[in-house]
């Protein structure tokens, strides 16, 4: 294993024996309020990820948000592995907002969580943090015992000198270790010596998430805090013309009604009073500049745009020649609706303005951007915006909004109400559902050229849909020549060896529906269109879908690896057990890379005569590099299957005259337990560095199910969500 160097060793600034209590490696006191009294001195070293208490507690500081993906547990596992800590004593604390120490290493100077990067960008960083801490503990023990460092071993939080049978717990060495210099080089473990990574480290948040004690933003209550519920405009782009707060103010508990840029906020002593106040409010909206198209009209425009060539995102060979020479051309188009994230915890945020700055409580996903946004609103310096990162009750991309919509709204309410009281902004379900920032609606058109031997010689793929990144801070990095990389991800980098390819894109800029990444981003639609279309090609050439893919994946061993594993484990090629009389059964496959992880899925479905669809079983094969916590990898992929299936079966946000139709779970159903298929997850052994697993389980599900529907019925759905009416016998 290579030897690595800790960054900025020259800037060493260690706690020197403070009360003999802690090895406070680079830990800001703010990070762990419970122990704040102990850490009298603050160090500013990077790699500020660990505190060892004299009580033997090991606190890992997590720079990434825990929104369900097991991030806290994973980050803790990496560090604890190299530290050789006792997993049972490890606690996780959310890091404060401080990009100098806690930036996402894949995002330059910005702190934040997203794009399935938490493990990937932390792997080396936390291994080094753990290994160097262990080296300091060992060095301290060697001095105390006057023995050679090489004679000392560490296991489960105990430092031992086997020749003299002496041992000390981490806590007993903490004060001495704090006086040790950070080693310039640390030797990391060989994977064969891992005792936590790749094994089973139980989740650290299971206990408090099963007894009601886990704290979400919704649960924050500060002294004197008011709850705000906001009347938002009925259409995107509308503004407040005037309002009558008389009736609202007469509601018991309502304290104030204030106008803010995004609407009118009712502040009350409690949530229900605020809601009643909001219901009693009369607001007149100026809709002169509001967006008024319906989703059907948007789609019709996109279909029209798709008749013309777009900006080229990827080109290889000569597609015109390939199509001119084709013996057969296969064509299909696919439509994808707007999708809401619909996290179980609707968006919310608590902000308190004080003499030293402002303090935020939030399921915080974009710390640095939000510090700047709030600093701008309150006339503060970004570092005066203190952020308490709480558990998020789901996000799926929604809390990572570079426009910081709901956080800014909370701040505007605090500002408009004079900063007198802390404010908890609560979006009710309907507010959350109708606030926009949806997965963009997309239209795809594909054509394949086949030669006389049935060989796939040409591929044209045209996409039409709004850009997520244009106008965001990510634009400079990820929009090139008018192509938003996330509009075409999964399409422009199609893994299949096709000699002549052209992928082009239209990006309408006059659609004012706010859009955002939604778990797996571009791959949430590109995996569907490419993988379902490939099955049409397989059908046209009479080839088996797995065989065709393997043939086209010649130089893509990781795609092929998961595809073979999923095929094997699912019994691909063996006959499916027939369903009840009148039903049709089918098996379908899809494979897709996203966020540098590879997932193949085989779905088995039963379609009833009336078109009712049941997904019976999904077999998944995953290559995400080293699986830090295999059980969590399985859990994430199981959940991703359900999340993706919800969208495939039910997910659709529609607009009528610009107004969002759906408001709650009756109109926008999520998956229910009785719709959940049996899921098997198989992990491909790997020695590659870990990549993400929060998102990559999503993309292959809908196409695998669609291909199973195709196998069962001969119909390969051209739009999501699936329509039972189209699947009738």
């Amino acid at each position: 294993m290579s030897t690595m160097t800790i960054e900025n060793v020259s800037r060493r600034n260690f706690l020197q024996g403070v009360a003999g209590l802690t090895l406070s490696f680079c830990l800001p006191a703010i990070a762990a309020p419970a122990a704040a009294g102990k850490a009298a001195t603050v160090s500013f070293e990077p790699n500020a990820f660990l505190r060892i208490g004299s009580d033997n507690s090991v606190t890992v500081i997590a720079k990434h948000l825990e929104m369900g993906q097991g991030t806290y547990t994973g980050l803790g596992t990496i560090l604890a592995e190299e530290l050789d800590a006792d997993w049972k004593t490890v606690r996780i604390a959310g890091a404060p907002a401080d990009a100098a120490r806690y930036n996402n290493l894949f995002w330059g100077p910005a702190q934040g969580t997203g794009g399935s990067t938490a493990m990937a960008n932390s792997w080396d960083q936390l291994r080094q943090a753990g290994a160097s801490a262990k080296a300091m503990l060992v060095s301290a023990a060697a001095k105390r015992w006057k023995v050679a460092v090489s004679e000392i071993t560490v296991r489960d939080g105990i430092v031992s000198h086997p020749p003299s049978k002496r041992s000390l717990r981490f806590g007993e060495l903490a004060a001495d270790a704090a006086r040790e210099a950070v080693p310039a080089n640390v030797v990391l473990k060989e994977p064969k010596d891992f005792r936590l990574v790749g094994k089973h480290a139980p989740r650290k948040d299971s206990a408090e998430k099963t007894n009601g004690k886990a704290v979400f933003t919704q649960d924050i209550r500060l002294p004197g805090m008011l709850v705000a519920v906001v009347a938002h405009p009925p259409r995107f782009g509308a503004t407040v013309k005037g309002f009558d707060a008389g009736a609202a103010k007469r509601v018991k508990g309502v304290v104030d009604v204030v106008q803010i840029p995004s609407g009118v906020a009712v502040l009350a002593t409690d949530t229900w009073s605020a809601k009643k106040g909001r219901d009693a409010l009369t607001v007149e909206w100026d809709e002169s500049r509001a967006f008024k198209l319906g989703s059907d009209e948007i789609l019709a425009r996109y279909r029209e745009m798709a008749q013309q060539p777009g900006l080229v995102a990827h080109q290889a060979g000569n597609t015109d020649q390939a199509f001119a020479a084709a013996a057969k051309v296969v064509k299909a188009s696919y439509d994808f609706p707007y999708l809401a994230h619909a996290a179980m915890e609707p968006m919310n945020c608590v902000i308190r303005l004080g003499p030293e700055g402002c303090e935020v409580w939030n399921g915080e996903q974009l710390h640095t951007g939000e510090q700047h946004q709030l600093a701008g609103i309150f006339g503060l310096k970004p570092e005066q915006v203190k952020i308490n990162m709480l558990y998020a009750g789901g996000s799926f991309g929604r809390r990572a909004n570079t426009k910081s919509d709901y956080v800014v709204e909370a701040a505007q309410i605090v500002k408009a109400s004079g900063g007198k009281a802390p404010v908890k902004l609560v979006w009710l379900r309907e507010d959350d559902m109708r606030a926009g920032y949806y997965r963009p609606l997309f239209h795809h058109a594909l054509e394949a050229a086949l030669d006389a031997n049935g060989k796939l010689t040409g591929w044209r793929h045209r996409l039409v849909g709004q850009s997520i990144l244009m106008g965001s801070p990510f634009e400079a990095m990820m929009v090139k020549n008018g192509i938003d990389a996330v509009s075409v991800e999964g399409a422009a980098n199609l893994p299949y060896a096709i000699p002549n390819m052209r992928v082009d894109l239209h990006t309408p800029t006059d659609i004012a529906v706010p859009v955002l990444w939604w778990r797996s981003v571009g791959s949430s639609h590109t995996a569907y269109s490419t993988e379902v279309f490939l099955d049409l090609v397989a059908k046209a050439t009479g080839k088996d879908p797995v065989a065709l893919r393997l043939e086209l994946l010649g130089d893509k061993p990781r795609h092929s690896g998961v595809l073979r594993l999923a095929a094997e484990k699912s019994g691909w090629g063996t006959p499916l057990k027939p369903g009840a009389p009148g039903t049709r059964r089918g098996r379908g496959v899809a494979v897709h890379e996203s966020f540098h992880s590879y997932v193949a899925q085989v779905a088995e479905v039963t379609v009833a005569a009336d078109g009712t669809l049941k997904v019976d079983r999904v077999v998944c094969a995953v290559d995400c590099g080293i699986a830090i916590n295999p059980d969590n990898v399985r859990s994430q992929v199981e959940g991703a299957v359900g999340f993706a299936l919800a969208a495939a079966l039910h997910g659709e946000i529609t607009l009528k005259g610009g107004a969002v139709v759906q408001g709650n779970f009756d109109g926008y159903p999520l998956l229910r337990i009785d719709e959940m298929p049996q899921v098997e997850v198989h992990i491909l052994p790997s020695t590659a560095k870990p990549t993400g697993i929060g998102e990559p389980g999503v993309p292959p599900l809908a196409p695998a199910v669609a291909n199973a529907i195709g196998a069962a019925t001969g119909k390969y759905p051209g739009r999501l969500p699936f329509s039972s009416a189209e699947l009738r016998a």
Binding site: R203, D205, M344, P346, G393, R429, G642, N664, L671, V679
Partner: protein
Amino acid sequence: MIQLNVNGKLHAVDVAPDTPLLWVLRDTLGLTGTKYGCGQALCGACTVHVDGAPLRSCATPVSAVAGRKIATIENADRSRVGKAVQEAWRKLDVVQCGYCQSGQIMSAIALLSQNRKPTNADIDTALAGNLCRCATYVRIRAAVHLAAKSLA
């Protein structure tokens, strides 16, 4: 004043009678383990027990449950079934974001209190009103079975 019996403790609360029980639990009594998800009894995140039966507290006016025995997630570990369910949930690491899990657990406890050996179909019926956006359903089913086994 409305008299409430929550987790065996009596409270007199001064709230409008139409206030949903959910907001009284959360905002008045500070029992924040019970969650708001939809406000219309569509998601089950707010599930509590009233006289032992599961109930959606977000759509139940507090006046309707005055004097009745209300139990919330904070009370779950006080019963043998509740403990078994929580232990099974932890053993299988069911949770992801965790926001809906109080409701899932309260529904599971209610099921197992009535039916000590539920089938998958029984579980699906009893928990179909509890949405989980993270779709932890595979493990929820397994955890209910595990809890049932530990109670046998």
